[in-house]
């Protein structure tokens, strides 16, 4: 399938965006727009999948716009095909979900035009083959998503989120611009082909790595550049949150891969270290914050930060192994990273859809006002449970398969020659393990408080199941979670050509291992069989249910007069989200985040209620951003004097600048 077909699809999405302006006023316009977006992205996704499995060659096309001497280059190779498949299927699911969910949108005119443009921009980033087109599409993606974040900008929190987001997005794009400037060199080779032909010097390549970590990392949510993400992602409508969290962060990962593994030339041995460190720190930080949030969508946004951390740890491992000539181990780590990219796109979309469904049914995002939803929304409850289990890396679901692969790669680290890596990688592994355990706690909390127990508010009590489109979208993604978890070998084999393109070798074909098991290194060392685990869990669960129902349910039950310490029927005697998180908050408070607790207890006889205040603050604000803001303000104060010079002094400034430049020219040439 030629590249022009993709561009046609992207153009169709852009046109759809313009139509969205008109259609947003029409009745049923939102259904039309989302259906069209669904059809287009589903077709694009299917085409990408066919290309991926069919092993299509790289195809290019050059269009005569963009920079006059450059044109716009587009190319599809195996890396972009994989990401195109992930992104378009994610987008198709979100569009399908939105057919139902979008009907409840209060201001469709602020969402419909930007939604297809956002999809088109993400697609364009993936097929861009020169720096100009790449940055243009990247910025279009940022702007379209910013417009979607600002959809409900009358809420001051959303307006602030949008402001922080656009600042960070511009900063990230600026870093990428500098990276491409360094790559292009003095002669200005902006086409990726020309950049590949002229690899930068090692020092410049190191600088490019730093800029790529900053630029792509800020979009993906690497700490400490993550501060915008938990503000912006939840502010958008839920299907857009899903896209931003599940899909747009993958575009950022793609940008990092493209820059570091493809364009920056051969890597140095130390490149893995910053990537690993950033990834491991991000994973733990993300999940700790996720554990403390009360807003369901914010829990999910912070959990995205954790998963990006996991992906970057795997990428750092791949870099470390690749530069030390451990091809098989690098292939394993890269497979883990790409597999997790796919998995996160699936289950994060699923969970955000779930949060959207809850929001539609109850109007609440605050976990403390939810509860008991499983009885009222059984299908949504089941699907969100699948998503929670998958994101907590429980077998036999997909999250386990990819994280298990990452740990397998970590276990190979003792064979590395460099002591720095030998010591760092197990430490990163320990942090990753901590993150995985905390992720389990985080989603037990989110699901347990939100869906189990008894409703904590009238809104939760009166919730009803959501529409069919939303349920089908969630059901489909749940099924994907299960399938990718049971048959990981098929996914790994499909990823093989991409891994080969990135690190030179790929994992041994897993289809050779019997019973759909996977054996990443050798069967004697470790293997995992998702199907067997699934069958065992299913059979033992059915057996247990059978035994219980057979022996217990039929017996007459008499209630005990002492209600197990639960005599009060009031729902706020249940675990609250704050109380569930309290032990972990107490443990980590002080060095990861700052908390302030204050209890206002009325005197005996006073009738006002007691009050418990909890303030939670991300220390990244104080450590990183406060000094930056202070520095900028100081600089602005100093430079402010420039506003009040005399004409003579202004002229002298210009003159002095000219003379200094000429002097520099005279000395340096």
């Amino acid at each position: 399938m030629p590249v022009s077909a993709w561009l046609l699809g992207d153009a169709a999405l852009l046109v759809l965006g313009f139509l969205g302006v008109a259609l947003s006023r029409a009745r049923g316009g939102s259904t039309l727009v989302y259906s069209a977006a669904f059809v287009i992205t589903a077709l694009l996704g299917a085409a990408a999948l066919a290309r991926l499995l069919g092993g299509g060659q790289a195809a290019t096309v050059t269009l005569p716009f963009g920079l006059p001497w450059l044109g716009a280059h587009f190319r599809i190779d195996t890396i972009s095909t994989f990401f195109l498949a992930v992104i378009n299927f994610g987008a198709a699911a979100a569009s399908f979900f939105a057919i139902g969910y979008g009907r409840h949108e209060s201001e469709p005119g602020r969402v419909l035009p930007f939604f297809p443009v956002f999809l088109a921009a993400m697609n364009l980033v993936l097929v861009a083959d020169d720096a100009f087109t790449f940055l243009l599409s990247w910025e279009l993606m940022s702007l379209a998503s910013w417009a979607l974040v600002m959809a409900h900008s009358r809420d001051p929190a959303n307006a602030r989120a949008g402001f922080v987001y656009i600042l960070m997005a511009s900063l990230g794009t600026f870093a990428l611009l500098l990276a491409f400037g360094l790559l292009a060199g003095a002669d200005g080779h902006y086409a990726f082909d020309a950049i590949r032909a002229h690899p930068p010097t090692p020092v410049l390549a190191g600088l490019i790595l730093a800029l790529a970590l900053f630029g792509a990392g800020s979009k993906a949510g690497l700490a400490p550049l993550h501060v915008w993400l938990p503000l912006a992602h939840p502010a958008a409508p839920s299907h857009v949150s899903a896209l931003m969290s599940g899909v747009m962060t993958k575009v950022a990962v793609y940008g990092f891969l493209r820059l570091v593994f493809d364009l920056a030339g051969p890597a140095d041995w130390w490149w893995g270290i910053p990537v690993l460190t950033a990834g491991a720190g991000t994973a733990v930080l993300g999940v700790l914050f996720a554990l403390l949030q009360n807003d369901f969508k914010r829990v999910l946004a912070y959990s995205t930060i954790e998963n990006i951390g996991v992906i970057f740890v795997a990428l750092g491992l791949a870099l470390a192994f690749k530069t030390n000539n451990f091809g098989a181990a690098a292939a394993l780590a890269m497979t883990a990273a790409l597999f997790h990219v796919l998995n996160h796109a699936i289950f994060k979309n699923l969970l955000f859809f779930g949060a959207g469904a809850v929001l539609t049914a109850t109007g609440e995002r605050n976990l403390g006002k939810l509860g008991g939803l499983l009885n009222r929304m059984p299908a949504t409850g089941l699907f969100v449970l699948v998503g929670c289990a998958a994101i907590s890396a429980l077998p036999p679901l997909n999250g386990f398969a990819s994280e298990w692969l990452a740990f397998q790669a970590i276990l190979l680290s003792p064979s590395l020659p460099s002591w720095a890596l030998k010591l760092l990688i197990p430490a990163a592994g320990a942090l990753l393990a901590l993150a995985a355990a905390l992720a389990g706690a985080c989603f037990v909390r989110a699901y347990g408080i939100g869906f189990l127990g008894r409703p904590r508010s009238d809104a939760a009590k009166n919730a009803v199941e959501v529409d069919r489109f939303s349920l089908v979208a969630m059901g489909f993604l749940s099924l994907l979670c299960l399938l990718a978890g049971i048959f990981p070998g098929i996914v790994i084999d499909a990823l093989a050509p991409i891994v080969r393109g990135l690190v030179g070798v790929s994992m041994a074909p897993q289809s050779a291992v019997g019973w759909f098991a996977i054996a990443p290194i050798a069967e004697s060392r470790s293997s995992y069989d998702g199907l067997l685990v699934f069958l065992f869990i299913a059979l033992s669960a059915m057996l247990a249910a059978f035994i219980i129902h057979r022996t217990a349910s039929n017996a007459v039950r008499v209630a005990s007069p002492w209600d197990c310490g639960f005599p009060d029927a009031a729902t706020n005697t249940q675990y609250s989200p704050e109380s569930f998180a309290q032990p972990i908050r107490r443990v980590f408070s002080g060095f990861v985040f700052t908390t302030q607790e204050s209890v206002d207890m009325p005197a005996p006889g006073d009738l006002r209620p007691a009050r418990y205040d909890l303030r939670l603050r991300d220390r990244a604000w104080e450590i990183v951003y406060k000094p930056v803001v202070g520095g900028v303000q100081k600089l602005a104060d100093v430079l402010n004097r420039l506003q009040f010079l005399t004409i003579q002094q202004y002229l002298s400034l210009v003159f002095a600048a000219l003379v200094v430049l000429l002097l520099a020219l005279a000395i340096w040439t």
Binding site: F644, T646, I647, F655, A666, T669
Partner: protein, 220 residues
């Protein structure tokens, strides 16, 4: 013949730089204007000589424009303006004359070094002319910076523009349309500046720019 052609071009361009120093040294407005007219006249000759040795007839038009506009119309107009303004006719300086002249010498040296290095390998006549042109530009700017009188600033600006024309004539292949538009933009600049001069004088009874700064209340 070639040697003579080079020498004459060199002489005329060098004359421009010399007149720039003359401009810097003047302390009377009318003398300043006369020196400016002389510089424009020299420029017209220099450009005409370039037209002759490059066999580029369109440069004659440039020379003609220079002669008419810059050697005649602008000096005469400025003369009449200064006469009608009725301000005192001394050039107020920020920096006294001697350091200014020394700085000017340094600037000429700088432009020589830069231009001769940068244009390595080009035709020697072009290199010399570009170096002189840059000197004239820098000296014009120096004049604008070190004078507070608005009229002398206008003259500094016009002299700076003379340097640009010299560079344009020396760099072969500058289209005529560019030179004509530059000439007209200078004329328009003169008109605008003239209007401003009268407005400033009306309000402050002086064309000293310090009056403007005092008025803004930001003179420090």
């Amino acid at each position: 013949m070639d040697r003579l052609a080079f020498d004459i071009a060199h002489f005329l361009a060098g004359g421009l730089v010399l007149i720039s120093f003359v401009l810097l040294y003047q302390d009377r407005l009318f003398a300043l204007l006369n020196a400016y007219a002389l510089q424009a006249l020299t420029l017209a000759f220099a450009v005409a000589w370039q037209a002759h040795i490059q066999e580029a007839p369109h440069l004659y038009i440039t020379a003609g424009i220079t002669l008419v506009f810059k050697a005649l119309i602008i000096p005469v107009a400025l003369h009449r303006m200064v006469a009608r303004l009725g301000v005192h006719r001394e050039v107020e300086t920020v920096v006294s004359l001697v350091p200014t002249m020394l700085g000017g010498i340094g600037l000429v040296a700088l432009s020589m070094v830069v231009m001769l290095r940068v244009t390595h390998g080009a035709d020697p006549l072009t290199r010399e002319d570009l170096a002189f042109a840059l000197s004239v530009v820098l000296l014009g700017m120096l004049m604008m910076v070190t004078r507070t009188n608005a009229v002398s600033q206008v003259v500094g600006f016009m002299s700076l523009e003379n340097g640009l024309i010299l560079a344009a004539a020396a760099a072969k292949g500058m289209p005529l349309v560019v030179e004509i538009s530059v000439a007209f933009s200078v004329l328009i600049a003169l008109i605008v500046i003239g209007i401003f001069l009268f407005r400033i004088r009306e309000r402050f009874d002086s064309v000293d720019l310090q009056a403007l700064d005092d008025f803004r209340g930001e003179h420090r």
